[in-house]
């Protein structure tokens, strides 16, 4: 069975299981969701490995801070989005907000070298 078909089949199965579990045991449903995510990440890890290696090489070749910042920001945003969704699913809305806030702070921290460089250029004009 090809990887996409197996992934979609696994996702379908996990969704049905979660629907059943959510009714009787929300904690197990949540754990199943988490396990499903880990399983999927593990499964597509092999597939993504050459892409990530290529991306890393691409960033190294361009030797630019801007590239590193963008890749880091995209990664942070993806993780933040997943964490927030997970928190909302678990019914922890305030934690979801916190995840969102932490994500924003991390993105700001990742983009800060760029802001610093722009600030330096503007400061350079001012003398």
């Amino acid at each position: 069975m090809s990887l996409p078909v197996s992934l979609f089949a696994a996702l379908l199965l996990l969704t049905v299981l979660q629907l059943v579990l959510q009714k009787y045991s929300p904690l197990f449903a949540f754990l199943l969701s988490l396990a499903g995510a880990v399983l999927l990440a593990f499964r597509i890890g092999d597939l993504l490995q050459p892409v990530l290696a290529g991306l890393a090489l691409f960033v190294r070749r361009t030797d630019g801070q801007a590239f590193r910042c963008l890749v880091r920001c995209a990664g942070i945003l993806l993780i933040t989005d997943y964490t927030r969704t997970l928190c909302h699913e678990a019914g922890a809305d305030s934690l979801g907000w916190c995840a969102d806030f932490v994500g924003r702070c991390l993105v700001l921290a990742a983009a800060f070298p760029l802001l610093e460089e722009i600030g330096g250029k503007i400061w350079g004009i001012a003398g």
Partner: protein, 354 residues
């Protein structure tokens, strides 16, 4: 300049003058001053007379591909960054905070676009300085040729209003373009990073207004040059007719003197045209590649704004539109300078014979 009038044998054959690079008779006055300009022209007037298109084509840079590659080197990093942004936008489609990604993207684009823009501004400054140096040397020589050809007022105008106007423009451009562009880039980046809508279009409007003002200045100065040329021509004609009448009134040799003067003046008219065309070609050979480079920068910036449109990054698109406006302004300054030189020289060449 009066030395031009006093020396004999000034009526050089037309074919020799038109050929530009051909050797002129050694007794022609002031050849040491104007011959280098005729020799330095990338194409001769005769080439234009034979095949104007081929001569015009010859002004283009030897390898446009090399020019394209040179400009592409500046934008390689930026284009790769935008490809990465498109990829990230595709991954985050419908997820995550796009505003934050756009914020990082606009900062990155600003940092990466700064150096190519500054390099471009430096090239424009350098060329303006070069052209100013050329004109400071050339226009007095051209004025001398005009004066020697019986257009003393025209010659004075060439060394006066036209030269000073062009020098002021070149000086202002060379001195002001880099700080102005730096300020414009800083303001554009700040406006595009800011979440306030309307600031970036305001920046673009400022750039557009500056460009419009430059176009208007160009038109006004061209009209002024035209009016000045007509005035000087009237004065010079009157002086010339008076001189011919006085020379013709000398008993016995009067008619001969008048005919000799006509021959000398005809020679200088030809020299005036050849020298004007040579100067325009020398400057044109510098102007065309620079203008093409500016247009290529504009093309790349437009391409970048399209790429930003693909990744739905409105802020980056706004930034690139602002940068494109800055390049348009630089192109307008360069075009204004060349337009004034061309208008001034062509008016001096075409009006009053030549």
């Amino acid at each position: 300049m009066n030395g031009f009038m006093g020396l004999p044998g000034t009526a050089a054959p037309a074919s020799l003058l038109l050929s530009g690079s051909a050797a002129l008779p050694g007794d022609l006055p002031g050849a040491a001053l104007w011959q280098p300009y005729l020799d330095g022209a990338p194409r001769t007037a005769l080439d234009f007379a034979k095949d104007p298109w081929a001569a015009l084509w010859g002004l283009l840079p030897s390898s446009p591909l090399q020019l394209l590659r040179g400009v592409l080197q500046h934008y390689a990093g930026l284009l790769l960054f935008l490809c990465l942004l498109t990829l990230a936008a595709f991954l985050l489609e419908g997820h995550g905070d796009r505003e934050l990604l756009n914020f990082t993207a606009v900062c990155g684009c600003g940092v990466l676009a700064w150096d190519p823009m500054m390099t471009l501004a430096g090239t424009v400054c350098e060329k303006m300085e070069e052209w100013k140096r050329f004109l400071v040397n050339f226009l007095p020589v051209y004025g001398g040729v005009l004066a020697a050809g019986g257009e003393s007022c025209g010659g004075a105008a060439a060394g006066g209003f036209l030269l000073s106007g062009l020098c002021v423009l070149a000086q202002c451009t060379a001195a002001g373009i880099v700080p102005l562009l730096q300020s414009y880039l800083a303001v554009s980046m700040t406006c595009c990073i800011s979440s306030q809508k309307g600031l970036a279009p305001l920046c673009r409007t400022l750039g557009g207004t500056l460009r419009g003002a430059l176009l208007l200045i160009g038109k006004i100065l061209t009209i002024l040059l035209g009016v000045q040329r007509i005035m000087t021509l009237q004065l010079d004609r009157t002086t010339l007719q008076l001189g011919q009448m006085l020379a013709g009134s000398v008993p016995i040799i009067g008619q001969t003197l008048s005919q000799a003067a006509d021959t000398v003046l005809a020679g200088f008219q030809l020299l005036k045209s050849s020298l004007g065309i040579a100067a325009l070609l020398i400057l044109g050979a510098e102007f065309v590649p620079l203008y093409m480079e500016l247009m290529l920068h504009l093309l790349f910036l437009t391409g970048c704004s399209l790429l930003c449109g693909l990744s739905a990054s409105e802020k980056c698109r706004e930034l690139f539109l602002c940068l494109a406006q800055a390049v348009r302004c630089m192109a307008a300054v360069v075009a204004l300078f060349f337009e004034l030189v061309a208008a001034g020289v062509v008016l001096m060449m075409a009006v009053g014979g030549g």
